[in-house]
């Protein structure tokens, strides 16, 4: 008796081996896609959107690449997801996590074909991941006590992060900038107070860090261009026509004179409002909403600098930086906290005029102005810098650091190998596979740099046989070198997150033995 179909039309079901194969292949395809961007000599990808304008992004950032892919394979979506989370949590290592998960699955596939149950593989992977973490913990360095050394650690981490990005040419310059910016934050991870402004023109080298705050706005006409000892009122209020908000109110008049009267009243009201604002004793007024010509003129008359239409984030940041509160009513001038800064002036970057607030009350904030040849370069530079800043801010909190250049992977692989030898039962195959997957990362780094990976990795492995070895792959010289001397450092937190989330994702995909795809939702015909 044939069974009537259980599922709806178009829904499909894949079982057992087939399902597993489908998810392995999908996940590996995604991993292979981003694989070539790994490491300092990794290549970039061009992403063209299908939306209007076919805008183009050039990037090397794993999370950005994966975010823009349209993926149908459910297992591949899991990988995209972990990369996104890695980005949110630690900001860097988004490519590594996907590559590692892909390698874990590739090894798992081999084990599955040699008839080892996925559950056994998972058990082995779990043990291996735990052991690898222990191995890393044993070798971490912590220089929190020594401020000078800590700073140099941070510099090295920033340089390592940046060297795989477009900024690698000027990595010292940018690393310096990033570390300075992070030190200003004094331990908070709130990256909001670091503002990144992109201005096309000039070269990347012309980028600079500015203590203080830069607002990408123009000063109203006829208003002072330079104010010393500024008192700033940050506001979010309507400065066009102040509407009556009571519902259902409307103006209804029957003669021209009345129109004129009401207009007069409106003007009067605006004037009142401006006077109230002026009563705060300010000489700078920043509003989130528009300021119409009339109030602008009034401000100009009073010699107050008025800035209109600052975006929401700008306002919040400005409030944060200058220590003022965001005001919407102006009846009690004595209790509104005003923002202060030493100097406001208009500065020119390239062709554009910007407003620069320096000597702000709260020293945390700073602005980084990026210059570069094109928007694509600037966008990519911003992403790279953001990665570096994220890593640094996390490192300030968790100051443990590791060496880079494939060193952590080799250390982990060695310990995991030891574990495999000690473990009895089928699990040991899985543990061994885990170590192979770890080694795949230095292999990929070497491959991407056009080096003889087999040779280099073999050398590395031999070197790592000695206790306390610092060897890693030095891509620049194309040989195995001492990572501590070369100053290639990575944050422990990033490596740990890579290890744990890659294992978690691989485990999740391995556990699947059936894929059920629902019928795609039909678009309703709008005929």
């Amino acid at each position: 008796m044939p069974i009537d179909k259980i599922f709806k039309d178009d829904a499909s079901e894949e079982k057992g081996e087939r399902a597993r194969m489908a998810s392995f292949i999908g996940a590996m395809a995604v991993a292979d896609l981003v694989k070539s961007t790994l490491g300092p000599k990794g290549m970039d990808k061009i992403l063209q959107s299908t939306g209007r304008g076919h805008s183009v992004t050039v990037t090397n950032d794993g999370a950005t690449i994966l975010k823009s892919l349209h993926i149908d394979n459910p297992a591949a979506k899991v990988l995209v997801d972990i990369s996104k989370v890695q980005d949110d949590e630690v900001g860097d290592g988004t490519t590594s996590v996907v590559v590692l998960a892909g390698e874990l699955l590739r090894e798992a596939e081999k084990l599955v074909t040699s008839k080892i149950h996925p559950m056994t593989i998972i058990a082995g992977y779990r043990m291996a991941a735990e052991c690898a973490r222990e191995a890393l913990l044993k070798r971490v360095m912590d220089n929190k006590e020594n401020a000078e050394k800590f700073r140099s650690d941070l510099m090295k981490i920033a340089m390592t992060t940046l060297c795989s990005k477009i900024l690698s040419q000027d990595k010292e310059h940018f690393a310096e900038m990033a570390v300075d910016a992070i030190f200003r934050l004094k331990g908070s991870t709130n990256l909001e107070s670091i503002q990144i402004i992109k201005k096309p023109g000039g070269s990347l080298r012309d980028s600079f860090l500015d203590e203080g705050f830069i607002l990408d706005k123009k000063i109203g006409i006829g208003q002072p261009k330079r104010i010393e000892n500024a008192k700033i009122l940050v506001a979010n209020t309507a400065m066009d026509t102040d509407k009556v908000k009571i519902y259902g109110a409307r103006v209804r008049v029957d003669s021209m004179t009345k129109v004129a009267e009401i207009e007069g009243a409106e003007k009067e009201k605006m004037k009142d409002k401006v006077n109230k604002i002026l009563a705060h004793g300010i000489n700078c007024f920043v509003n989130r909403q528009l300021i119409y010509n009339f109030p602008e003129e009034l401000f100009a008359d009073a010699g107050v600098l008025a800035i209109e239409h600052a975006d929401f984030e700008g306002i919040e940041r400005l409030g944060l930086v200058t220590g003022g509160e965001i005001a919407s009513t102006f009846d009690n001038p004595e209790s509104v906290k005003l923002g202060h800064c030493k100097l406001i002036e208009e500065i020119m970057i390239g062709e554009d005029k910007l407003i620069h607030f320096s000597g702000v009350a709260m020293g945390q904030a700073c602005s980084i102005v990026l210059r570069g040849a094109s928007h694509h370069v600037l966008d990519e530079a911003e992403r790279s810098l953001h990665d570096a800043l994220c890593v640094l801010s996390q490192t300030v909190n968790d100051s443990r650091v590791l060496l880079g250049g494939g060193w952590p992977e080799m250390v982990m692989a060695k310990e995991v190998d030891e574990l495999a030898r000690k473990t009895a039962g089928k699990k040991s195959h899985a543990i061994e596979a885990f170590s192979r997957a770890l080694v795949a990362i230095p292999t990929t780094i070497a491959d991407n740099a056009g080096l003889d990976s087999a040779e280099l990795v073999a050398q590395l492995r031999a070197k790592h046989h000695n206790e306390g070895c610092n060897a890693g792959i030095d891509v620049i010289s194309g040989a195995v070198g001492d990572m501590e001397e070369r100053g290639i450092y990575e944050a422990f937190k990033v490596k740990q997150a890579v290890l744990l989330s890659a294992t978690e994702a691989a485990e999740m995909i391995l556990r699947v033995d059936e894929i059920i795809t629902c019928a795609p939702r039909r678009r309703e015909d709008r005929m």
Binding site: M1, I3, D4, I6, F7, K8, D9, A11, A19, P74, V78, D81, I82, V85, D88, E89, H117, P118, M119, T120, T189, L191, N236, V244, K245, I246, Y247, G248, A249, R250, V251, R252, D254, K258, I262, G264, A265, G319, E325, I326, A327, S328, T329, D331, N332, S335, E504, A505, E507, M508, R511, V512, D513, E514, I515, I516, C518, A519, P520, R521
Partner: protein, 535 residues
């Protein structure tokens, strides 16, 4: 043949538009239904037990769910077949009633159907099979009662509860930290449980998830967690000893429901209206201040001006809080939800020892913790995890664990897991079969056989030899007359489920058997399937 003749010999049609309908009758209908039921059960069979596999489900919008929870799999499977839909219902009702064992119940029903098919081949009438099943299920349920054990626990000694929850969690992807999650679930249930009345209102336990961090960071918060932040960035991030005004009216000018117009035709009117508006905002804030509130939680939005006034008067506020959360906050803090400013009184304020805002990760994610509430009977389980699917799955797993803990508080009896209870029942039913004269005897034996399929599936999923393992355990149970021997899924080395601490709730197991029998009976009684072939 759906054709009849009237007294003049003319045929008339009973079923309209015959060619568009397909029709199955008699034994064919039963066979087809059984096959469909079995097909559904087969999908779930591999998810059973601690070594069960997961299913990946791709929804109609391309969203991916990975789960091992029977009810969720069936819910999202988008089935078309009528009998398959019955199985979906079956697992759902187990989920509503008990919350756990949703996979087991479907596997059980599938096995019963499989056995029924054999009986039908022998020529036994479906109704007799159904009746036999009914008798057998009664025997099994009674036997379960007999072998069940009561165990004692109280607020200080909740170890047995934790052990039972761990059994539930061990089949999920979260089994890595099942111990800590089980403890969280038990503590949460105990916090809201009414031990006098033996009842737990699971609505008081809120499960929140946020992507990022590790599963190990999952925590139990004695209070409420709201995925919102303060309405003004410069409001204080931490309030101690908060008096909370819970409002469902917006901080905006009033909007009367009746249609009205306010016409402005003179300057005076314009002025007064403006004044009134300002006054209105002022009054609203003043009212909150007057009753002594130190925190305002509002279901609606704030006008910019009102927002600033609140900030100015040093009155932190949270806006756009959902209705469900609002209710929970009201319960937890002992406050009343106030629909109008005029009705605010000090007595209606909620109280909480500590309200704080906490931020996560590198993105600007903030959440509001409301802790040390006046009425501590509302808790939140806050789940962290590597990705969204992980969190969703953890939520489902925790829900199962919560249900198990609740069931135990309702009824302290437990049976042993790992298939031990099923094997014991199977033995009991088999022994009882001989006492029944008549054809039902065969059906009862078939029932016993079907009971074996659960431990069989467990063994199969764990990579053991199913038949060998089952027969070994069965003979062990019979020889020593102890119903604690089950399948050793985790390869610990002992079959004694007492040592492995694998427990399940008695009512859960009983419900499984009863529900599965009921559905199978229903399916067996169908002898005619008429369906519109267009579907």
């Amino acid at each position: 043949m759906a054709l009849a003749f009237d007294e003049f010999g003319r045929p008339f049609i009973i079923l309209r538009e015959q060619d568009q309908k397909t029709r199955l009758r008699g034994i064919d209908a039963q066979k087809a239904n059984i096959a469909a039921g079995k097909a559904v059960a087969r999908i779930l069979r591999s998810s059973l037990g601690p070594k069960g596999m997961d299913k990946m489900l791709q929804g109609p919008d391309g969203d991916v769910t990975i789960t091992n929870d029977g009810a969720t799999i069936l819910e999202q499977m988008d089935v078309d077949n009528q009998i398959a839909k019955l199985m979906v219902e079956l697992s759902r009702s187990q989920d509503y009633e008990i919350g756990d064992g949703t996979t087991g119940v479907v596997v059980m029903a599938g096995a019963l159907l499989e056995q029924a098919e054999r009986q039908l081949d022998r020529g036994i009438h479906p109704i007799r099979v159904a009746e036999g099943y009914e008798m057998a299920s009664r025997v099994a349920v009674e036997h379960l009662e007999r072998i069940s054990q009561k165990f004692e626990f109280d607020v200080n000694n909740f170890e047995p509860l934790v052990q039972t929850c761990m059994t539930t969690l061990s089949s999920k992807i979260v089994n890595r930290c099942k111990r800590s999650l089980a403890e969280i679930a038990v503590k949460a249930v105990l916090a809201v449980a009414d031990l006098e009345r033996r009842d737990v209102n699971l609505d008081l336990i809120k499960i929140e998830g946020k992507v990022g961090g590790n599963l190990e960071d999952t925590e139990l918060i004695y209070g409420i967690l709201v995925d919102k932040d303060m309405s003004h960035p410069q409001m204080p991030k931490q309030i101690e000893d908060a008096h909370i005004a819970i409002l469902t009216c917006p901080f905006e000018p009033p909007k009367p429901k009746t249609k009205h117009k306010v016409d402005i035709d003179t300057v005076e009117k314009f002025e007064t209206l403006r004044k009134q508006e300002q006054q209105y905002f002022d009054e609203m804030v003043q009212k909150c201040k007057d009753v002594g509130a130190t925190l305002v939680i509002c279901q609606w939005g704030f006008d910019d001006e009102a927002n600033h006034l609140l900030m100015h008067r040093n009155l932190p506020a949270v806006r756009w809080v959902g209705g469900v959360e609002l209710e929970l906050i009201a319960i937890a803090t002992g406050g009343r939800i106030v629909p109008r400013f005029q009705e605010l009184t000090p007595g209606k304020l909620g109280k909480a020892g500590m309200v704080r805002e906490k931020s996560f990760g590198t993105t600007k994610e903030r959440m509001l913790y409301i802790e040390h509430c006046a009425n501590s009977k509302a808790v939140t389980i806050f789940i962290r995890g590597g990705n969204k699917m992980m969190i969703e799955e953890t939520k489902r797993s925790i829900h199962d664990a919560l249900c198990v803990a609740r069931n135990l508080i309702r009824n302290k009896s437990i049976v042993y897991g790992g298939g031990a209870a099923e094997i014991a029942c199977s033995l009991a039913v088999d022994a009882a079969a001989d006492k029944y004269p008549g054809v039902e005897q065969y059906a009862i034996r078939a029932f016993a056989e079907a009971l074996d399929s659960v431990p069989m599936a467990l063994a199969e999923n764990s990579g053991l030899q199913p038949i060998e393992t089952l027969s070994a355990v069965k003979s062990q149970q019979l020889k020593e007359n102890i119903p604690f021997y089950g399948i050793d899924c985790n390869d610990v080395g002992t079959n004694d489920m007492r040592e492995q601490n694998v427990f399940e709730t008695l009512i859960g197991k009983q419900q499984q058997i009863l529900l599965a029998t009921q559905v199978v009976k229903m399916i067996l009684k169908i002898d005619d399937v008429i369906s519109n072939s267009e579907y």
